[in-house]
């Protein structure tokens, strides 16, 4: 692999981590969705580049799914749902932005330390990709735990899933990647349909998950 190819792959995977960081400090739902669309777009580019570098045409399908489904359809659908449900646009963070960013940096450092150490045998591209992918996964988890809003938790989950797709495409020659990304898309579609069909707002009065805690899982 030429160093240019490696550099571009590196750049794209790094951008994905950066986009995850951008999601961490968004405090409006629409803005969060836009950053998520960017996140998915970067993923599509990254996967397409891997498809080109690895001469693996089936990965173009995954890239296409990422572009059409995740970067366009899902954000648009969520936009409409948010508008129709009339959810107020402020996102309540459990902890402050500064602290969240610090935690994010800590998680990325952790991902680097763990992954680079254990993959010393693998080739450079796979190593870096895996380290970035784990960072994206951990940042996705962080987004999920620092948000109280159900929609932004879903967005956090979707960014986590983008990290998994990055890892799967980075693992050279991994079979079933397309199938797995399709399975994940089905899962996400279910979540989004679920938000709409279950009419979380109507049922729960608010999409703020904290309001759900009234029901502590125990009938009194």
């Amino acid at each position: 692999m030429s160093s240019l190819q490696f550099d571009i792959a590196h750049l794209l995977a790094g951008s994905l981590v950066l986009a995850s960081f951008m999601m961490l400090y968004q405090d409006r739902l629409y803005a969060l969705l836009n950053v998520y669309a960017l996140h998915a777009g970067v993923l599509a580019l990254s996967v397409a580049w891997q498809a080109y570098v690895q001469h693996a045409p089936h990965l173009y399908v995954t890239a296409l799914i990422a572009l059409v489904f995740k970067a366009i359809i899902i954000p648009v659908a969520l936009h409409r749902i948010i508008r129709r449900l009339g959810i107020h646009r402020e996102i309540e963070n459990v902890i402050g932005v500064g602290l969240t960013m610090m935690a994010g940096i800590g998680l990325v450092a952790l991902a680097m330390v763990v992954m680079l150490r254990v993959t010393s045998g693998a080739d450079a591209l796979a190593r870096e990709d895996l380290a970035f992918a784990l960072s994206v996964v951990l940042l996705g988890l962080l987004i999920m735990v620092t948000r109280r809003n159900a929609v932004s938790q879903v967005v956090g989950f979707m960014s986590l899933e983008n990290g998994l797709v990055l890892a799967a495409t980075g693992a050279k020659g991994m079979p079933l990647v397309v199938e797995i990304s399709v399975a994940f898309s089905v899962l996400i579609a279910f979540i989004v349909i679920g938000i709409f069909l279950f009419r979380i707002r109507e049922r729960f009065d608010s999409v703020d998950v904290q309001a759900l805690d009234r029901f502590r899982g125990e009938r009194r």
Binding site: V118, V137, F157, F190, F215
Partner: protein, 479 residues
């Protein structure tokens, strides 16, 4: 012939799911659901006469035979119970025929997904199957569309999704570890190939992979502290689904974990998964046992009891060795049978009394003797009193591990005793207290309940040598 029976246990549920999704008539679909589940169960029995095989996607060996037969059997009895359960739900208008169509189709999809997870020889395929099973159960938990049901489904959804996401990361890492040795492509995900070559895999990568897999599939097993979805999902969904969740789905996730444990065992330089599993198992047992004391909802209480028993099973498998594995396997079977019987009884009781609150149910042995005494028998079995099957399996777990790790076993026994106290304390008034609530006789289907309890009783007194042999083979395989 060989592949036929193996494929049939996938094709029957898949075909029935499609059929049930199309057919509108309600009483017919409930019967068809039972017939399909019975056909799957009978086909699974054929697996015992055919030779073990392994292909790129499917695998049949002694380990999954036991799981498949158990899954299809409980799937069948739960479908019988389900038919009478939903009859009542339709009458009181909690479910409409449209939802029922969806429910039956999902039931078969769930059976398909669980069977697929059990016979998959491909770790990617196994992951997809577990994901599919999660999705279908999420939809079924939320089927009543009440505030509580939707919240339970949502919680299950989010936690389950995170769990399976972590499991996928672990799966990818396993592939990464395998790639330098077995080469690129499909072989790197075929379990039989992986096990053959696991000794040469990079141990560091395998270790990290296992941690992710343990967290991921462990969430689905319901191990503390990853169990938060489990009580809600059990309490708010339709009771047949609670029975299937507790009796089967937890086992399927455990099965996935065992497959990876086997793979790690081949590599001498990798961590031994045992201590991790033992620790999580013990935490689950103690935690769930303590939680039993403050339960107000009867289904939720038995959900915590499931966490406790999964803890015991994981503890046994974590300790390893032929005897502890045998005990773990027996305990898993006994728990599946007993817990689903309990849920069958609880389902009818909650319908008769139209409540799940423990405080509002009383004097069952007087008002509904058959249901009350079956539940009592189930509780006596589940807390591990002789002469029922769980006593025997718990005794085996304790006796096979005591010599090796006396202190750990003492903690385990303590947990079991705490759980016994909690369950009896809560169930006492329900059984023998002042009669409360509706005292109308129940229209219940007793056959599934009595069959399960009968089997558990029989296993406590006499284990057929065929069963012992096959369990011993599996225990040896598990190392």
């Amino acid at each position: 012939m060989t592949i036929d029976a193996l494929e049939a246990i996938l094709l029957i549920p898949a075909f029935s799911a499609a059929l049930l999704a199309i057919l509108p008539g309600y009483p017919l679909t409930a019967k068809l659901n039972v017939v399909a589940a019975l056909a799957t169960f009978l086909t699974s029995l054929l697996l015992f006469v055919i030779e073990p095989t392994s292909g790129q996607y499917l695998l049949l060996d002694d380990l999954n035979k036991v799981f498949i037969v158990l899954t299809t059997f409980v799937g069948f009895t739960a479908s019988v119970f389900s038919a009478s359960y939903i009859h009542h739900e339709i009458e009181i208008g909690r479910l409409t025929p449209a939802f029922l169509r969806f429910y039956h189709a999902m039931y078969q999809v769930l059976m398909f997904a669980m069977n697929l997870a059990l016979i998959a020889n491909n770790i990617g395929l196994m992951w997809v199957a577990v994901e599919m099973a999660t999705l279908t159960t999420v939809l079924m938990v939320g089927i009543y569309r009440t505030h509580e049901a939707l919240e339970a489904a949502w919680k299950y959804f989010i936690l389950g999704s995170v769990g399976i996401a972590l499991a996928l990361f672990g799966t990818i890492l396993v592939y990464m570890a395998a790639r330098p040795v077995v080469g690129e492509g499909m072989d790197g995900m075929v379990w039989t190939v992986l096990v053959k070559h696991a000794a040469q895999f990079d141990p560091a990568l395998l270790n990290v992979a296992f941690v992710f897999l343990l967290l991921g599939y462990g969430t689905k097993v319901g191990l503390a502290p990853l169990h938060a979805w489990l009580p809600d999902a059990h309490a708010e969904g339709p009771t047949p689904i609670s029975a299937v969740l507790s009796g089967l789905l937890l086992n399927v996730a455990l099965y996935a974990l065992l497959r990876f444990k086997l793979m790690l065992a081949v590599n001498p330089a990798a961590i031994t998964p045992g201590p991790l599993m033992v620790t999580m198992g013990l935490i689950s047992v103690i935690f769930a046992a303590l939680m039993l004391y403050r339960r107000r909802d009867i289904k939720r209480m038995f959900a915590y009891s499931s966490i406790e028993h999964m803890g015991i099973i994981v503890f046994a498998f974590g300790m390893g060795g032929p005897l502890a594995n045998f005990a773990g396997l027996l305990h898993m079977t006994m728990h599946s049978l007993t817990k689903s019987a309990i849920f069958f009884a609880v389902g009818h009781i909650a319908q008769v009394k139209s409540t799940q609150k423990i405080a509002d149910i009383g004097g069952l042995t007087v008002t509904n003797p058959a249901l009350g005494w079956s539940l009592m028998l189930g509780v006596i079995a589940i807390v591990g009193l002789p002469p029922l099957g769980i006593f025997m399996s718990e005794f085996l777990v304790v006796s096979s591990t005591f010599a090796r790790a006396p202190w750990l076993t003492v903690i385990l026994v303590l947990g079991i005793i705490i759980a016994l106290g909690g369950l009896f304390l809560r169930i006492g008034p329900v059984m023998f207290g002042e009669p409360k609530g509706n005292t109308a006789p129940a229209e219940a289907s007793y056959v599934p309940m009595f069959t399960h309890l009968g089997l558990v009783l029989m296993a406590g007194i006499y284990l057929p040598p065929v069963l012992v042999n096959s369990f011993q083979n599996v225990a040896k395989l598990l190392g």
